[in-house]
Amino acid sequence: MSRPFYIKQTRAGKFFDILNAVFMFCFLIVVIYPFINVLAISFNNGQDAVKGGIYLWPRKFTLDNYEYILKGTTLIRGTIVSVLRTVIGTVTGVLCSALLGYIVSCKHFAGRKFMRIIFIITMYFGGGLIPTYLLMTKLGLVNTLTVYWLPSLFSAYYMLLTASYIQNIPDALFEAARVDGASELRIFAQLVIPLSVPMLACIAIYIGVGQWNSWFDVNLYSKNGRWDNLQIILYRMLNQASAMADMTDSTMLSEKMRTIQPLTIRSAITVVAVTPIVIIYPFFQKYFVSGMTLGAVKQ
């Protein structure tokens, strides 16, 4: 048991512990089962999967679904683009959000309310798809990698989260550094960042997953296909099926419907998209599962 020594163990406490453990176990099942199910279907033959009845393991094992989606050289480039944009987008996004969060929590900064407000306005009011698209075109950002991270550098949402966390760090620390002649950027880099690691890790996950999963902006801005990422390639495969839904011509529809079995392809796509995240997540998780951190003031 790794409970801190000073916590008294009562009967009510023990009862709660058991209840908690049981509840968590049920929750675990409810949460893992669907994923195992998806995994099983993804390894199952398409025609057979249509008949249903697959629960924990495939009935007619096949690698066809994965072969279908993993074939082809564009997938390699797509994966590279995905990784690039996730890494660049996450690092820049986290740093910028943290910087902004720091700026708006400096108690002696007269402009912090102003900065907060101009960002919060952007959370609710936006021009919409067409003006944004026109802007990107004018700025020459279409068909580049930059369009994936530059327009999302600062976010009001993450600004508020980091600000709330940084506010808890005693100001005395920063004042001391300032008195010692440290610049704001230095304070940010050497004090704020190390002390906000749990929050930064959390934001990194949110931003990272957002970058990894996004396909809508790729669809919009990657016209010549050079900067396609993994998700858009998978999305297109999946959407062949639903694009056919608009077909009004019966014969044409029958030609197309025969060769696609959306169920198993969709399951395989889910697995391919989620697996990297599942692998990487634990590395970030350790930053906030380790429990309570020591008080910073002591340092």
């Binding site: 008949k51 698209y133 026109l134 802007l135 669809n219 694009a243 011509d249 959306p262």
Partner: protein, 562 residues
């Protein structure tokens, strides 16, 4: 201080915004490509001296995720370059192409040809003066197009008798039904092959089948019918009314006035018919919950005895699944098509054939050489052009890696062509591989027609030829004779905003209220639900829709009889 900063920012924003809002003016290039050379290739195409470059935005095509499709497109592009001296530069869209085209319009970045667009988008281009009028070419370089359009040509013209677009896929295969009632052949034989001529016959036949086999081999309960509700594959009461003599869900009187099915006796009878199944307990209780996938699962597990819908649905979810999983499936374990009609009905109007297509091609004002482009589109209207577009590259050029040589048809140096005998055999014996097709097809469809050609035999779909020699297809055609009608004149293309909104509201109204009538437990419940349905439709503006349909029909009939 704060106020000043904010007002300063607003000024900057205004300035920037006004700059961004201005569109760029496009310079039209007046240089023309030399297209005449006097040299014709075996397809009848005059090969131009300078390479003709055509930029196309294809809003109806899909990106090509499969290796086969990708290879196919590469090969087609190369073929056009080599044999035609035409370089096609195509940009595809994924999913809903309309969004992409709107953005292209907004940013003034669209190419010479935009294809695969809906009627509304086409109208937008025309109303903004960004489309090239095609009428002047129809009697000269575009005459194959006009010929192919045939008697429906006037329906493509606007109110000023001008042609602005070509359909990407027009025409129809007049013997091939779209929709049918389907029943399983072996089960039908087992109950004595009763004649199915009226709705009651079908009802009785299904009940007999269920009595004989009330559960599947796995012990699951079977039902007579089930529905599904996905966008695109609706179990559509308007279609069901065909058995009671209505066309496309409307009753049309001699004067050409349209009445919506929910306000007709026939529509009520149709709903009562399904209500009967419900009261018997033979209607799947999840009929109004199923999405297509769930319906497919039930059907593949043999839990649903009958189906009324697209003709290939029972193939796709039925014997094609069974045969793929178990090669020893008996031949008779598949569905056949039957038609029946109510005694008072004129005919079982199940398949309305619309020859006008639903996606269109235009030449935009960015085209430097509209005549050359018109020539190219016209080429697709010729027999050899259509063959090349739809059947793909001829002469067994080895392309695919499936072991087959990609031979569907052959053409010699003089331009004589025929379908390859081996391919024909594969079609007849239903061993034709659809995957193979993709390896040598991939040309954009700027103008195609699926009607049968002048020789009465060929058509653009490989597997719609020679069904007389296919046992099942000929059975289907025989049974479904008389259920097909031409509905081109009924097609409402010009819709005002009011009508568009009414259409959506009407759809909402029947999807939300029809199910209650079908699942009514008593006579009173049924009447109440039926009235509720009618009230909902009236609020939705069904009269606007009926009026629009009637007027459109009358105008179209006049156009064609002129």
């Amino acid at each position: 201080m704060k106020k000043k900063l904010i007002s300063g920012m607003l000024c900057v924003t205004m300035v920037l915004a006004s700059m961004v809002g201005c569109g760029k003016t496009v310079k039209v290039n007046t240089e023309k490509t030399n297209t005449s050379s006097g040299v014709f290739n075996e397809f009848g195409w005059e090969v131009p001296e300078d390479t003709l470059v055509i930029n196309i935005l294809d809003a109806g095509g899909y990106d090509a995720p499969t290796e086969a499709e990708k290879k196919g497109r590469e090969n087609v592009l190369k073929y056009f370059k080599d044999k035609f001296n035409v370089e096609l530069k195509i940009q595809y869209t994924s999913g809903d192409g309309t969004e992409a085209v709107n953005l292209a319009l907004a940013s003034n970045q669209y190419p010479d040809i935009v294809t695969g667009i809906t009627y509304d988008v086409m109208k937008k281009f025309v109303s903004m003066g960004k489309a090239v009028e095609m009428t002047p070419y129809m009697d000269t370089i575009g005459k194959d197009i006009k010929d192919t359009m045939g008697e429906v040509y006037p329906l493509f013209l606007d109110s000023e008798a001008k042609l602005w677009y070509t359909p990407t896929l027009m025409g129809s295969i007049t013997e091939l039904p779209d929709k049918a009632a389907q029943i399983r052949y072996d089960e039908w034989l087992a109950i004595g092959s009763p004649e199915i001529k009226t709705p009651d016959d079908y009802y009785n036949a299904l009940n007999e089948i269920l009595k004989k086999n009330p559960t599947t081999p796995n012990g699951e309960k079977r039902y007579a019918l089930s529905f599904y509700t996905d966008s695109g594959h609706w179990s559509d009461p308007a279609a069901f009314c065909g058995f009671w003599g209505l066309k496309n869900g409307y009753d049309i009187n001699e004067a050409g006035d349209f009445t919506y099915w929910a306000f007709t006796e026939e529509g009520k009878e149709m709903t009562k018919y399904f209500n009967r199944f419900y009261l018997d307990g033979t209607l799947d209780p999840d009929s109004f919950v199923n999405k297509y996938e769930q319906w497919k699962t039930k059907f593949s597990n043999e839990r649903i005895a009958g189906v009324i819908g697209e003709w290939w649905i029972s193939y796709d979810s039925g014997h094609e699944v069974w045969q793929a999983l178990d090669p020893d499936t008996p031949e008779n374990k598949r569905y056949i098509h039957v038609s029946f009609k109510d005694e008072d009905a004129e005919g079982a109007y199940l398949s309305g054939k619309n020859s006008l297509g639903s996606r269109y091609t235009i030449i935009t004002d960015k085209a430097k050489n509209p005549e050359a482009l018109m020539k190219f589109i016209n080429f697709q209207a010729t027999e050899r052009g259509l063959a090349l577009t739809a059947w793909g590259i001829p002469n067994g050029t080895p392309i695919g890696n499936t072991g087959r040589e990609g031979k569907f048809w052959n053409i010699d140096a003089e331009g004589k062509w025929e379908v390859d005998p081996a391919a024909k055999q594969a079609l007849i014996t239903e061993t034709w591989s659809y995957d193979d097709e993709y390896y040598w097809t991939g040309a954009p469809w700027l103008f195609t027609t699926q009607s049968r050609w002048k020789d009465g035999v060929h058509c653009m779909w490989p597997n719609q030829m020679w069904y007389e020699e296919n046992k099942w297809k000929s059975l289907m055609i025989e049974n479904m004779e008389g259920t097909i009608y031409d509905s081109s004149a009924m097609r409402l293309m010009e819709k005002t905003d009011e009508v568009k909104i009414a259409e959506q509201a009407v759809k909402d109204a029947w999807t939300m209220n029809w199910g209650a009538a079908v699942q009514a437990n008593t006579e009173e419940e049924f009447e109440a639900a039926w009235t509720a349905l009618q009230n909902a439709l009236t609020t939705a503006g069904i009269d606007k829709l009926e009026k629009a349909m009637s007027e459109n029909y009358k105008i179209n009939m006049e156009k064609m009889n002129k």
